[in-house]
Amino acid sequence: MLQIRLHGRGGQGVVTAAEMLSLAAFLEGHFAQAFPSFGSERTGAPVVAYARIDDKEIRTHEPILEPNAVVVQDKTLLGAIDVFAGIDPQGFAIINSAEPAEVVVPDLVKKLPAGHVLTVPATDFAMQKIGRPLPGAPMLAALAAATGVFALESVQKSFQSRYPGKVGDANADTAALAYEYIMNLKNGGNNA
């Protein structure tokens, strides 16, 4: 089972991202589950959501304390909350930032295997294509590129089915930019 924890702030679509992640996995024939950490929803307040992917029925409903992957949609959380608490020593971390991972989270880069801690300028991509700071789709695409567990096309399809028309397509375009960015990084391209 792959367990993913997503951190962000109210208004950034963190819960939607977790739901879309579960939908992407479902579209590929996996069992998947997504749920928010329930609280008083306020714009700007820290928000946590969870997702699980497995090839058999997911029965547990406990929150994820030992994630295989952590997605941080808002870099300003890094100093405020221990977003990487309990992370699997072989796990992945994706952080929304234009700066390299070695600069943003140097300690984590040393702790996890090479290429498992990645940054992606998801908000910049979202502003380019959607025109609003909604980093959910590019963050999921970056996770897809980093782990290979699910495909870019599934991320795009999940957003397009939830938001048919222009909004879904813009999210799909944003996802493509982030996917290419990480693949380029992995292959030692210009972003590396």
Binding site: A18, E19, S22, L23, F26, L27, F31, A32, Q33, A34, F35, P36, F38, S40, I58, R59, T60, H61, E62, P63, L65
Partner: protein
């Protein structure tokens, strides 16, 4: 049909498949998404011949549901927590009148202090309301139980509360298998009330009954509850044969063969517990799970059979009765009278505190190591938090770890003068 959707949407779609004639509810977390989705279905025409009524309170929601049901249509509503409490007068009327309303309770704690998160104190506060109360362990179970609930309610002639854990289930996105409209139509015939209010042929319903007949009506209500047990079993069997879904029933056993301890659990904790006992099994620890589905009527005989000759029984309760004990405990004790089983209550998961796999393992080990000293013990307690209060005010402290009730009571003897 397989869908990856929010639990609440799954429930709304299941209710729509049952072709209700009236849906009336007032929004309250964590139930709101269910009726929001039903409202949309009525508006878009996906759910036809259904009146969706907006009201100003839960008291009106149950009142409209009573009116609709008395008028001869299939009626549905949903609520939670303080909303359920605000309904209570109508809740009792619905059962007294024998109206087969189906209501979701997206279980949530009751204030004060205000808390929006899950436990079972709201649904269990209506233990004696005369409604059937069916608990669900997963979203698939909840979806299927709603469809069965209409059939059970209409056959028994009593309303049914379908209790599903708020947020944990209602807000979880999961893979759900919805039966087809043809399957549900085959399973659930149109509602045929024995009598209903009709302005053209007026009758009275709900008149005053004095001491000369009130007892007898109550006895007949109890008889309906007894009748409900085999009806739940039969309807479950029919539904399982039709859909292949292993949902519903009075209770369900997991890993129970040769178990050294059995945990009785209601609701979404069952799934977490199944994973936990599978992990324990790898260490040679044999723990079984009994998912208790029917709380009212209470399946005493089925539970006694499910426990068999197991001597260690722990009830995991997301609630307790102040000044008394666990709410399930007396029922389980009655079911197991004379078997010699040791029965204990483990209270955890109040007001949304997560019940983890580790919580379940702690409870199993506590039981198998004979550590239960009281009938009731609280688990996953932040002892420091209690002590920070008690030490200053009364000069006493509690030890770390699970908190048995006798230890809590002992502190009363040690209060500084």
């Amino acid at each position: 049909m397989l869908k990856q959707i929010e639990g609440s949407l799954g429930i709304a779609e299941a209710v729509a498949l049952c072709r209700p004639g009236a849906v009336c509810a007032y929004p309250i977390s964590p139930q709101t998404h269910i009726v929001e989705n039903l409202g949309k279905m009525v508006k878009t025409g996906k759910l036809q011949d259904c009146e969706f009524v907006n009201v100003e309170s839960e008291f009106s929601a149950i009142s409209v549901s009573i009116g609709a049901s008395a008028g001869g249509v299939r009626a549905y509503t949903a609520t939670a927590s303080q909303g359920l409490l605000y309904m209570v007068e109508g809740v009792y009327n619905a059962s007294g009148l024998g109206l087969p309303i189906v209501m979701t309770v997206a279980s949530r704690a009751i204030g004060a202090p205000i808390n929006i998160w899950n436990d079972h104190s709201d649904s269990l506060s209506q233990r004696d309301s005369g409604w059937l109360q069916l608990f669900c362990e997963s979203n698939q179970d909840a979806l299927d139980t709603h469809i069965m609930a209409f059939k059970i309610a209409e056959e028994v002639g009593l309303p049914v509360m379908v209790c599903m854990d708020g947020f944990v289930l209602t807000h979880a996105f999961e893979r759900l298998d919805l039966p087809s409209q043809e399957q549900v139509d085959q399973f659930l015939p149109p509602y045929e009330p024995r009598e209903f209010l009709d302005p053209k042929e007026p009758i009275s319903m709900g008149g005053m009954v004095g001491p000369e007949a009130f007892t007898e009506l109550r006895i007949l209500q109890q008889r309906k509850m007894h009748k409900a047990l085999p009806i739940i079993e039969r309807v479950t069997k029919e539904y399982r044969e039709l859909t292949g879904h292993h949902s519903g029933g009075l209770l369900d056993c997991y890993n129970c063969d040769n178990a050294d301890v059995k945990l009785i659990i209601m609701g979404s904790t069952v799934g977490t517990a199944k994973d936990a006992v599978d992990e324990l099994a790898k260490q040679g620890i044999k723990a079984g799970i009994i998912s208790l589905k029917a709380f009212r009527p209470f399946p005493y005989e089925a539970l006694r059979a499910a426990i068999g000759d197991t001597k260690n029984v722990v009830i995991v309760e997301r609630h307790f009765s102040y000044g008394a004990r666990g709410i399930l405990y007396p029922e389980v004790e009655r079911a197991l009278r004379g078997t010699g089983a040791q029965i204990h209550t483990a209270v955890c998961g109040l007001g949304g505190r997560a019940i983890l796999g580790s919580t379940i393992k702690d409870i199993v080990n506590y039981s198998l190591n004979n550590k239960f000293s009281s009938e009731m013990t609280w688990f996953d307690v932040d002892t420091k938090l209690i002590n920070s209060y008690l030490k200053d005010t009364e000069g006493v402290t509690l030890p770390e770890g699970p908190l048995p009730e006798d230890v809590l009571m002992d502190t009363l003897q040690k209060v500084r003068a």
